[in-house]
Symmetry: D2
Subunit: 366 residues, 4 copies
């Protein structure tokens, strides 16, 4: 029972701090015979990598992944895969008063209250940098899914920055790769660029909402009651740095619906059941329906801003702080590939669980 | 690794179907020496019990809990506590076409697609009745918490039914026990009564939002990265029947905030750090701050409604269905004690985890 | 993470004390569609049941199992199976000075030192009665194995009582069911009967060795490094009440062999690899070879004997104790069905794990 | 649930193959504030290191450990500690017919049958080299134990090589560090040196027995029923490469004892209960008594010998094999520090578990 692990059969343990020698993911339970190499994982890390455009932090790290174990002659062996990313941007710098002052909205203070140890160099385990390990593990999960359920496609995108939401009428899958926000609404991308530009100049930051969809997930994966597919997705997304809310399908809006409006009616399609709508987000009773699995999560604004804030020191004195240095006006942008990675890990895990308990899918309809 | 268990050290496994002989919770890892008897647990089951007013289902079950193990002479022994609730309302009845037809919005179809076994009697494990087991376990957790952190107070209440939200200006803790909705807003209670009355007559149902607050939680419990306090709360709440969204603190609304607005400033109080606000919901980096821990979740409307809906049969034929019998116009009401129970289990679990890894709290401020 | 659970995917949690209302096993992860009823489980409990002959304790309990959940219309549903055995022999009796005195060789004293709670009524969780729950779970596991690997046959038998070992030259599988010791050596059965008769009269007790063999286990189940098939078997057997040693294949005697003598040479048979011998006990590197899986364990003599022994009281005073009442001259006899049950649970668990990670067996030879 | 992990709260996941770039241990759940550096761990790796004398394999690896995470300014932070050992001896060599032939007694064949992937370079995860990771984790565990139970002392030693046992009359703790076998019997060390010299020359190998003792373990650690201290020790030792049997206290010999002989009588000492003997090996009902915790395990002879053996190829053809290259006449010698490491990990884990569930020890005697 590791507090730094997730997954049941596809088990990922992440380790490492933002300013130590390296960080990474120890992945156990991967099926053998999955074709994989470092480049196949690197593509996803490159997507998450900071410093790619002016809307993300300017820390420039190559984030180069190395496979240290579990792969032989280009295939997984079925034993633990160690994915390591060395930290190259460990420049010695003047941490100044960060060493003693807690940053409001940061985990500095709670880590101190829990452990009595203060790694002031950059957030330690609470740094967004930890998510690089997840993205690496997710890259492996994607390849393993192909072996079992080749039709699965996992795509994340932004639906909201600050108060600015996408227009669902503009939704276009092909736009997602065309803009720095991975948003399916080309108009929103343009508006957001202007909005964030101003925000960055003012030294402020803002929150965002990311949606991740898994298409082609076979019906029947998931499990009652505490390993429901939605339970595991909620945990996976909420565990991401700065996430404060998670929704499946209608999410919080389900509160406003009547039973009549909410029930997705069922029809018989050529390849099994089809539904009139997808309020459920592809999950009923914790088990996939075969529809798109739809998860959404909110990312809070980064607390590293250029405004002076009141705080206290380790010795309990009241003071003020201003966080100089690299800023991410909207840390939610970089959460897109992270959300995709978590979705991939959860889907693979439940494919394996299903195969373990049940083998071939048993309940045929029609 | 049980799919029907939750918790790390305080480990709860629920079992049983809505129409079998009994259901219950096997609770392992409870500290020894906790004073407990059946009446202390029964009070919480009585709160959740259906049939108490016209706004909840009229199924009348005594839901009487029996302690079968782990308690000797009124105290827990430290070994597994078996909490059993016998099903008394197992009247043989005519299930009619439910046997072959899937109810839209129900887990009928996904259970069939997963297991190839159909327990048509009432939802099996996906029934809301499963939550009685959680409430029983939560009753034990509340008593155990008193042994370790006696100031903890856990309270759930409704903040929204359909589109009707409470007015936070009317918030009054003392109102919560005074109305059938456990809502802190007396005016809302009155309005909701009228609204639900009409909804019930029309045979429709509606969703709701429940908020659960834990006051008095010591700073420092929780753990990075996949056993964060918020991660475990998200999983706990999302695992409840019919929940579609979970929020911590600002929740989804965090997307709309700027970093300047969102950062809770820190001051020094008499008993440690104090904050200017609680956007964080009492959790930073997965670890408690000492502020109120605030969780919210949305419950979808029950799909058992008196409107005819399109569906299919086990053999794949298209047909229609109308669910007769007992209806819950707002199943979210009964989710209040369930949410409280899950909060109690998670808080206790993390108190034990903290004590295990670290012993006495280490990081003193001031 | 329950301290009272074992298994990875086929997860068994036992609960209950020897003198409470009931005890049982909560079994999660069983495949759906396994044909099962109470009688199929009862047969194994009857085998373990005390009071069947003069060589086991005279406590007479019907040990009647009830299935409370997870089975519908004679088949497992894939959800938790609750197996309950009510304690009927809870006669109020005079515990006398047992209440305050610790019995040497019993867990009385360590339970007290750990929990500070003393259930003096009969050993609580440390009672051999807990093993009834395992036998019930094992009965279910046997039926589930048939669904996946129908050729598996699990048989336990005694190979030693006190200093009296069986003669391997007399080994006859058909004898095992013919004598009260489940031993394959008819001559040993006769000798042991006389030996135990005298021992019982003298109020003494003796240890024993039990061997459990699983035949027909497919090659390839198990997993490095801490879920090796032999690791899990060692844990499963060592967790049985009173067991002090566990061996796989040659076991402790492997220390005396040379590499030349120990290596099982490999040949090609009609259905795959065959071996010149089975020093390995059917397991190499934690993974099954397809040969018989052979486990052996030693059971210490029961400490409830009619000889006065020195001990102390709860308040630390030195005193003496003599255990009156029901005695088991060789508690090892009743461990035979328990060992079989644990073997069944472990084999099933690893069949499921293998199917989960790998699906169909991948490595074909020839 | 990782198949390559062990421990409940102090959770160790080992990863890496004998001939990949690196191997190591990801350690989660270590208490914060433990003083540690690479040298403190290195000392134990040096003890296990091959090539130190003529009785162990001549593979010369520096086995240099690097701490990649979880330690800041010389102290553990409470987050995962990554311990990496790079493989420097990866010389490209001619594997010859090993690529296709299975070595009798090796896990070659079962890994192939399980995974369908063959890492012929040196045993992969089944190599004895995996145990270096355990030794590193054990080094950390030893330091963490000091924080909680400073009187604990863990010592391993050999008691038997082939048929040659130590004379318990010669037992001298101070001898253990004085000979290449870590044996407390100086005379045995002399005899064994001659015996192994001949064995090595003849290209043969032999098994051994290792005993590990933990002194100063407080009474009350461990837990019923499947996380008993002895259960976890049995699993820990059986998971070590080439181990075929595990004993606690009297072990298999308990079968030969009468209840009268086996029961350790209890007296009252100055610091709590004392016992007339320690047949129990320091554990009753899965919980420590405060006496020495005594574990013993048998290591089979290595199968890499210079005698021709019959085997088959991957394609199922019968053939012969002879293993050239580096040989370990008694691989059991290097198992001594490995057994110590596993003991340290298990003891620490149970100290944390006890503190988690119970806090301060509750049951006082006297």
């Amino acid at each position: 029972m590791s507090m730094n692990s997730f997954g049941h059969l596809f088990r990922v343990t992440t380790w490492g701090e933002s300013h130590g020698p390296a960080l990474g993911a120890t992945v156990d339970g991967c099926p053998p015979g999955v074709t994989i190499d470092e480049a196949m994982i690197q593509q996803w890390l490159d997507k998450r990598k900071p410093g790619q455009n002016k809307f993300t932090t300017q820390r420039r790290e190559p984030d180069q992944v190395k496979i240290l174990s579990g792969v032989f002659e280009g295939q997984t062996t079925g034993t633990p895969v160690q994915l390591m990313i060395e930290n190259t941007d460990q420049r010695s710098k003047d941490y100044g008063d960060i060493i003693d002052k807690f940053r409001p909205g940061h985990a500095d203070i709670t880590y101190w209250q829990k452990y009595g140890i203060r790694d002031y160099r950059g957030g330690g385990r609470s740094s967004a940098r930890e998510t690089a390990s997840r993205v690496a593990a997710g890259g492996l999960a994607r390849e393993a899914i192909k072996q079992i359920a080749p039709n699965v496609q996992i795509t994340g995108y932004m639906t909201q920055i600050g108060r600015h939401k996408i227009d669902r009428g503009n939704f276009d899958w092909s736009q997602i790769e065309q803009n720095p926000f991975w948003t399916p609404d080309a108009q929103a991308a343009e508006d957001w660029a202007n909005y964030l530009d101003e925000l960055r100049k003012s030294g402020n930051s803002v929150g965002a909402i990311v949606e991740v969809v898994a298409r082609g997930v076979p019906a029947g994966i998931g499990a009652p009651v505490y390993a429901k597919l939605d339970t595991d997705l909620a945990a996976a997304m909420m565990s991401i740095n700065a996430v404060k809310g998670v929704e499946i399908g209608e999410g919080m809006a389900a509160a406003e619906l009547t039973g009549e409006a909410n029930a997705d009616e069922i029809f018989m399609g050529q390849n099994g059941p089809q539904y009139s709508s997808n309020h459920a987000g592809g999950i009923l009773g914790g088990i996939s329906t075969g529809q798109d699995v739809v998860v959404r999560f909110a990312v809070k604004p980064t607390s590293s801003i250029l405004t002076t804030r009141k705080t206290i020191t380790k010795s309990g004195e009241e003071t003020e702080i201003i966080t100089k240095g690299r800023h991410d006006p909207c840390v939610g942008i970089r959460a897109v590939p992270v959300g995709e990675a978590m979705m991939a890990c959860v889907i693979l895990d439940h494919l394996l669980l299903h195969r373990g308990q049940i083998g071939e899918n048993r309940g045929r309809i029609g």
